[in-house]
């Protein structure tokens, strides 16, 4: 099994979810993160005091998939999350062992 992780722009969540459904992914887990990279942050001013926020809000999407599906999943996420502007994010996969569904104890593929 593989865990595909994607860092995306928050407003792209629905597109990515839709794309994943089309490649048959049943579930995913989302978390709010903040990213630092090429994309600039912004500046705020409070009573004349400048305040630079260089971390940019992003969403992290984690998807457990069968090894065979990894490439499709990565490809579809990349496609769906792309805006072509700096800060679109990254996608990668990690090898996973012993995946278990808590409710049933099913393992691996059956746990999806």
């Amino acid at each position: 099994m593989r865990l595909v992780t994607a860092i995306i722009k928050p407003f792209k969540l629905d597109d990515v979810r839709a794309a994943l459904e089309t490649v048959g992914v049943a579930g995913l887990t989302v978390s709010e993160v903040q990213g630092f990279g090429r994309q600039k942050g912004h500046t705020e001013v409070y009573r004349g005091a400048e305040y630079t926020v260089d971390l940019v809000p992003k969403l992290k999407i984690e998807v457990l998939v069968d090894d065979l599906e990894v490439d499709d999943v990565i490809a579809s996420v990349v496609k769906a999350a792309r805006t072509g502007t700096i800060g679109d994010g990254k996608v990668w996969a990690v090898a996973v062992e012993g995946l278990t569904r808590v409710r049933t104890g099913e393992r691996d593929r059956d746990a999806l």
């Binding site: 722009k9 928050p10 407003f11 969540l13 629905d14 839709a18 709010e32 903040q34 809000p57």
Partner: protein, 449 residues
């Protein structure tokens, strides 16, 4: 002259005092604001998932009681009737051109009867609203609504008649309650106790400590309550006069003393004074001075404040000892604080502040007044407890009083009202897909690209 002739006598509007009218109108507005204030005082203390449930109950109380009062309960409270309950002479606010029974001679009102109606209405609103603190997080809305209707008619109306109306038996007896120590606080505190017992404990209490989700809201509520309470107490002088001034000063002084006393107790018991404690102490002081504001001296009000703050700071621990879930301490603050204040009137009342009053024990009045105060306290507790309990049980025959376990876990906001209070997240929240949402990101953007 007899009650009936009184009730019949025409009120001469040309004789009203516009200054007093202005002050009581302003006071009525101030007291109205207390209920939203209370909603935030309580709402900040509950868990995040129940804050709207709490706000809803309080705002709906304003809605319900405002209607019940003009239609029926004002007349039950201030109509002539007998010593126990008023008649229906003023139902639907008919005959409002007449003098309100008993307000004659030196007690004659200098404000239009309609001003008195709306000022007293605000008391009728906040009293049942106070109950919502002891029942937080578990009272079914469908049972709450009929309870408030019934309680306003069957409990508040009569008790207000006994104590506030010059026709009431406790009033005639000479028990003193300037602005509602018995009628409002003991009455609501007792009903809160009854309802806490009827509903049972919150799921997980006391093992799971339920921390206030928004303490600043608690302080905001306390601030609005303090502000509004000047209308509550000083407005109860029913005039812009020296008595109102004393009630105003006493209210503020007792509140301040109680705030300091409560955090002093915390400092001693736990090593740290808390913001929640300061807010709680202030409210305890406001409660305790309510029956006394227009009868005691400023020095007396300091004493009442210190007693109320210190005693209530300890009283909030009773629920753990006796194992009943008075969730937000309506008993510890309003019932106990109301008793402290009502009895202190028996000790500290002085005609120097209010010539229409009586001297208490410390002013050479002996034990008479104290005895009457005690009697009033006991009677209101007994009546309120029994009636509140019966009303809830009767309603329980038709609808469940308590939410389902599932709804309690989910939280009242979502389970009962289909809402969630806040959309907060580290990055402004994960954007949610709307029921009708397209899958075009551009239409669901929540955060800057």
């Amino acid at each position: 002259m007899t009650t009936s002739t009184l009730a019949a006598s025409h009120f001469d509007l040309t004789k009203i005092d516009t200054g007093s009218t202005a002050w009581v109108l302003a006071s009525a507005a101030l007291v109205l604001l207390m209920t939203p204030g209370l909603a935030f005082f309580y709402g900040g203390m509950v868990r995040r998932k129940n804050v709207l449930g709490m706000l809803m109950q309080n705002y709906v109380v304003i809605g319900i009681v405002s209607i019940v009062w003009v239609v029926l309960s004002f007349s039950l409270a201030f109509g002539a009737g007998n010593g126990f309950i008023g008649d229906l002479h003023f139902a639907g606010l008919q005959h409002m051109s007449e003098v309100i029974p008993g307000y004659v001679g030196s007690a004659a009102q200098t404000i239009p009867p309609m001003v008195f109606v709306v000022f007293q209405l605000m008391f009728a609103i906040i009293t049942p609203a106070l109950i919502t603190g002891s029942t937080a997080d578990r009272w079914r809305f469908a049972a709450f609504v009929p309870f408030i209707v019934a309680w306003s008619i069957l409990v508040y109306g009569p008790v207000a008649h006994w104590v506030f109306s010059p026709e009431g038996w406790l009033f005639k007896l000479g028990a003193l309650d300037f602005a509602g120590g018995t009628v409002v606080h003991i009455n609501a505190g007792t009903a809160g106790l009854a309802m806490a017992l009827v509903l049972g404990k919150r799921r997980g209490w006391p093992k799971e400590q339920m921390r206030p989700h928004n303490v600043p809201f608690v302080l905001l509520g306390a601030g609005l309550l303090w502000f509004g309470w000047f209308g509550f107490n000083a407005g109860s002088a029913l005039g812009a006069n020296n008595l109102a001034a004393y009630a105003f000063v006493n209210t503020n002084t007792a509140t301040a003393a109680a705030l300091l006393a409560w955090i002093a107790v915390e400092k001693i018991r736990y090593g740290k004074p808390t913001t929640l404690g300061a807010a709680s102490g202030a409210v305890a002081g406001l409660v305790a001075i309510t029956p006394a504001a227009g009868f005691v001296s400023p020095v007396g009000s300091i004493l009442i404040g210190v007693l109320a703050g210190a005693i209530c700071a300890y009283a909030v621990s009773l629920k753990s000892k006796f194992n009943f879930d008075d969730s937000l301490d309506v008993v510890g603050v309003h019932l106990i604080g109301g008793i402290v204040g009502s009895l202190c009137v028996g000790l500290l009342s002085t005609v120097a502040t209010n010539s229409a009053g009586t001297n208490g024990l410390f002013y050479g009045g002996g034990l008479t007044l104290l005895g009457k105060q005690a009697l009033a306290v006991v009677c209101v507790i007994a009546y309120s407890f029994v009636m509140s309990f019966i009303i809830a049980k009767v309603i329980g025959l038709f609808v469940k009083n308590r939410v389902s376990e599932q709804d309690e876990i989910t939280g009242l906001d979502l389970a009962l009202h289909g809402e969630s209070a806040y959309e907060f997240g580290a990055s402004g929240g994960v954007p949610h897909r709307a029921s009708t949402a397209s899958t075009s990101g551009s239409e669901t953007s929540e955060v800057a690209v």
